[in-house]
Amino acid sequence: MCGIVAYVGDHLAGPILFDTLKRLEYRGYDSAGVAIKSNGEIELLKSAGRIADLEKVYQSLGSPGERMGIGHTRWATHGRPSDRNAHPFTSGEIAIVHNGIIENYLDLRELLTNMGYEFASETDSEVLAHLIHFYFKGDLYAAVCKALEHVEGSYATAVLAASSPYLVCARKDSPLVLGKGEGSVYVASDVPALLPYTKDVIRMKDGEIARLFADRVELIDSEGQPRQVDVERITWNADAAEKGGYPHFMLKEIHEQPRAIRETIAGRISEIDGDVRLKLGLSDEELKGLERVIVIACGTSYHAGMLAKNLFARAAGLPVDVEVASEFLNLQIRPRTLLLGITQSGETADTLLALKKAKTCGGRSLAITNVVGSTVTELVDGTIYTRCGPEIGVAATKTFTSQLVAVILLAIRLGRARGHLTPDQARKMLIELTKLPGLVQRVLEKREEIRKIAERYANASCYIFIGRDYLYPISLEGALKMKEIAYIPSEGYAGGELKHGPLALITENTPVVALATCGKKIQSNIKEVRARGADVIALATEGDPDIAKVASSVIELPETSPIYSAVLCTVAVQLLSYYTANKLGLPIDKPRNLAKCVTVE
């Protein structure tokens, strides 16, 4: 889980590398480094800590006039964060940066040690540097090819040699994109990092190796054949990613949700025939014949998957299993099973691996992702894009609500294809859906009210979230947000589960957030915790006459059907955790130990 960047071209490499690294900082940030080539020598700078600190060191050097370089921002998986374990790694005149995991690194390390190589770090990546050095006889491209033949696992790598006129990049199961500018070639782990420099990007495919010159890119596919370079023009702007007046990306992204939801549904619904248009790559016959759905996802996406469980059962008569990707066993797969992978980045390693495993057992597959052309889209039969633009805050907000909406769209499509929903039932659901952006806007307008409640309980030792039915996944998501950004230990429970243990946790200093827009049953759960002295913050439908009698404070949400109230509750709990973290003065956009996109297992 790291970000890598590289540059070759007519400009000074240093400032470009630092700038692109900063744009990748959200991917991980416990150490960083760059290697730049000047006057036929490689200058290496690296340190544990922030990129800005490293940049100061670079500036103190005075510019060495380099035109080529590589850089890395690291999030520790192998080896502690330290100067020693920071990338780039060098071996003789070779310098590399690497993202991914080399599975056979212990074997390779032993082999290379026996050949006399000395290892400076505890990381798997250093193996790659020595291996390339071992094969390097003046042709960098050939050396990288040979070295990679020995590597098992995943990699995105950029390689620099003091005597080579070009850079080499390669990727397998880890993201890497190239950007082509005027007299410059840029490399980064994702597109937004490149956009300030160029809108023309080249996506590398798995197993490809690229030779990068200032004026051209040469791609060689996994068969060793040159591939024509397809340049894709990016139309969205990078600065959609700037904070635009908000103190944090997270708050900005929370406010972007009406727009994001509108984008997710745009052009996909047809009220007049009560159906949803999605490019699933599966015929209605195939959808009709499905017997099960298995959702594979991690973290927040997993919560979106959990919403599918009750929804698909009701709307499409389909039983759903929701699996945490890293715990997935492919033994469960029978024919006529639909696999649904949900991953914001489309690069989540655990989810990709589980989908790959599942595919080998047959079964059709779909993905819900936000990133066009991401790795997951190559694995599946069809993709539903959430289309909400890049998300910079590490805690998922708009991408989550868009995932919920995508799940709802899919449920309606399945329901219609399978004859489980009548056109009129579907039409009513779609009418409610078109109102959702406006309703979310109204929840956002409750921000002051929610801020006051959040600040009142900011010093809580523990938060409990409870919800039933469609709101159970949202209670988990609420607890996750509170943990992620406010660092308050929090638990989400199904309302009915409280009495089976968690009630023991309830004290006067454990506020309970009750998601109460979906049925009356939750009220008895609220009474249960109130009787034990806890304060209850209830999220309830406007004008609900009973809830104020049982809860300590009520946040009223606009009236809608239960499935959409899950989205409204989500927005409210996002604001609650945001304002809690803000009150506590925490680094909301970059919580400790977390990274945006987890590309390691």
Binding site: G245, K252, H255, E271, T434, K435
Partner: protein, 394 residues
């Protein structure tokens, strides 16, 4: 300047400030920003306050509008002079001050930029109801700025758009507090005149328009729509008729049997028809649904609104996310409306703020004003002011 609410445009400003009210399918301030960008002005400092999130969510960093925006916050509404001081740290050359809640075109901005003089006021010659400052001009210099006279008059009025040199920041520091308890730019200017500084009036020949009350939006809207060209990015089904300049945004569909006469601007992802009639000077936002056999004329329909079948709407504003049932009839004509404890004569249909829900067969008399989130039961006749979040049961 985008910090104020625009109280007299209530109830439309209950959920957004006046700068975000749409005319010609763009918020007032978008017209302003586009006019500035067309004149090569790139760096914008926008003073926000009331409902700032709406402004920031829409314009973000300005890149989509061809400018770089920095937001400055004015949390206490202490007047325009106070607001301008927020920008002091950023400005060290000649600059413009413009209101975000007026309609202004590129030509007017160009006149202001190219006017000679260090301190220039964009002025307009017209008859008005006394809601603008009046400029006393002698020998092409402003001799006095008279505060809003509060009664109908004609003359040279102050549009609130200025060109200044950075030395004004010294004058701003000495602005006296006004009777209203705020620091007003007009006071600063009066003081500059008293100090012998030259203030040049530039009479505006381009487009400049304002809306005092919500029902003044129709004028600004039709003025803004004069800039419309026919651009059909969405789908127009066979059997639909389109005359005059009509904009149809991406993803929108105009169903068969509809009859559209421009100037009309329709946003993205709208579903119009079948058989809907839309007549001139109508703006329709994004994701709007208009059911079969409805007629809309000289109106502003904001985003996410849903209008049932057989509705008749003219000279009206329908706020964002309103849901209006079948056979809603809005009468139009002269009326008297209470606003800020005074009665105003006007002529319009109805002003519906955001999130208003109406059942079927609701009848609104001319001059009806409905607050945010109100719910009107089926079959109800409505008139006059209906407050925010109220329930009307027939």
């Amino acid at each position: 300047m985008a910090a104020g609410e625009g109280r007299r445009c209530r109830p439309l400003t209950q959920t957004r400030s006046k700068v975000m009210l749409p005319v010609g399918n763009r918020p007032f301030m978008e017209h302003v920003i586009l006019a500035l960008a067309a004149n090569g002005i790139r760096d914008l400092y926008i003073v926000v306050g009331y409902q700032k999130e709406r402004v920031m969510d829409y314009f973000e960093d300005g890149l989509d509008f061809g400018v770089n925006i920095t937001y400055l916050e004015q949390n206490e509404l202490l007047g325009t002079a106070h607001a301008l001081r927020k920008a002091e740290a950023y400005i060290n050359e000649e600059f413009l001050v413009v209101n975000g809640d007026n309609l202004i075109d590129a030509r007017a901005i160009k006149e202001l930029i190219s006017a000679k003089g260090e301190n220039v006021i964009l002025a307009a010659l017209r008859r008005h109801s006394g809601d603008y400052g009046i400029l006393m001009v002698e020998q092409e210099r402003v001799k006095a700025v008279i505060e809003k006279p509060g009664r109908p008059c004609s003359g040279i009025l102050n549009t609130g758009a200025y060109k200044f040199s950075p030395s004004i920041f010294d004058d701003l520091r000495h602005t006296p507090i006004s009777e209203r308890g705020s620091y007003e730019l007009t006071e600063t200017i009066s003081q500059m005149i008293a100090d012998g500084k030259e203030i040049v009036p530039q009479i505006c020949k381009g487009i400049w328009a304002d809306a005092i009350f919500a029902w003044d939006l129709f004028n600004a809207n039709s003025l803004a729509l004069t800039m419309t060209d026919t651009i059909i990015s969405g789908e127009v089904e066979e059997g639909a008729t389109i005359k005059g300049p009509v904009e149809v945004g991406e993803g929108s569909i105009i169903r068969s049997g509809s009859y559209l006469v421009g100037p009309i601007s329709i946003g993205e992802d709208c579903d119009i028809g079948p058989g809907v009639t839309i007549l001139p000077s109508t703006s329709v936002g994004d994701s709007v649904r208009i059911g079969s056999h409805s007629e809309v004329r000289n109106s502003i329909i904001m985003s996410d609104a849903r209008i049932g079948s057989g509705a008749i709407i003219s000279d009206s504003v329908v706020g964002a996310s309103c849901t209006l049932g079948d056979q809603l009839i809005i009468e139009t004509g002269p009326c008297v409306v209470e606003m800020e404890e005074a009665f105003q004569r006007a002529e319009f249909g109805a002003i519906l703020a955001d999130d208003v829900t109406a059942g079927s067969r609701v009848f609104a008399s001319a001059g009806t004003v409905v607050g945010t989130g109100a719910r009107i039961g089926s079959g109800s006749p409505i008139r006059g002011w209906i407050d925010r979040d109220s329930r009307v049961i027939s």
